[in-house]
Point group: C2
DNA sequence: ATGATTGCAAACTCTTTGCATCCTT
DNA sequence: AAGGATGCAAAGAGTTTGCAATCAT
């Protein structure tokens, strides 16, 4: 873990280790704020700025990915290609395995037709909708009407 | 056009009309700032707050869609389901026709497996990469190395 | 007449930065 | 020792809001 940092040319500091380890055991895609609050009481306390700086550094070297979906950025330790389901009600983000949704040659063709010369690096797919809980809550509140969220 | 507003329960004001018409002839997905600057000199001048308020109102009634890709929100008059190609270099956004990329039953199945009970409303697909111009610029600058952007 | 809409400026949220100090290499 | 990293606080983006005046219906 520390070696991954060193390999990427980043110095290994206690703050960075605590951030990396906290994120490693987390699939909730926390925001910087959430991460900061969780680490406040840690032995190696981190400042808010360091959370941002570190996450930025980690993302830059590919040890972390950033989800910018509107509202605060969310951080995702999963650096493998994958997609997301985002709840419009509560903002929850769930990772989706990618295998069967791999970027197709067909998709590339569509891009090329609309944007000649465009070189596709990533195919990000986001399924928006309502998670089970929000869907149930919506149904009991106002049957047949959509719930609206505002972000950020 | 005015009738679309009325039908949606929104009052027809000169500001709204100028915003709607400005956006209608625009496929560059402008930000609120860009839209505001473009409308400054218009006959019915609009304030910055009104741009935001109006775009919010329009989006809420489905006459407009909002793209939150990190950085300032971008506005898209295209309310038909479609996808986007986003350039990591210059931030340009290009609309992609959707037909052949329609949300598949397979995709729904993947979502359901990872997030039981999740109801998919939209399948947003974003192809990130480099547009022709940025790709060429990158190649001449530092062959073989990626360009990084930071947003917002 | 009535209530939505406008506009201004101030408040807010999220993110980045300057700079002195500290720590990893 | 040298340069990156930290932490604080302050500055910057981007967005939202309170409130009085104004306008569409």
């Amino acid at each position: 873990m520390a070696s991954a940092l060193r390999r990427a040319g980043l110095k290994v500091t206690p703050q960075r280790l605590s951030i990396v380890t906290a994120l490693a055991h987390d699939d909730t895609h926390p925001t910087a704020q959430e991460l900061f609050e969780r680490l406040r009481g840690s032995v190696p306390a981190v400042s808010f700025a360091t959370v941002y700086n570190t996450l930025d550094a980690l993302a830059r070297v590919g040890l972390m990915s950033v989800l910018r979906l509107g509202g605060p950025a969310r951080f995702d330790p999963n650096t493998q290609p994958h997609h997301h389901a985002v709840c419009d009600g509560c903002g929850a983000v769930v990772d989706l395995p990618v295998p069967s949704l791999a970027p197709s040659a067909e998709a590339e063709a569509v891009v090329r037709a609309a944007a000649p010369g465009f070189v596709v690096a990533r195919d990000e797919r986001t399924f928006r909708g309502l998670c089970a809980r929000c869907h149930a809550r919506q149904a009991e509140t106002r049957p047949g009407e959509g719930r609206r969220t505002k972000s950020p």
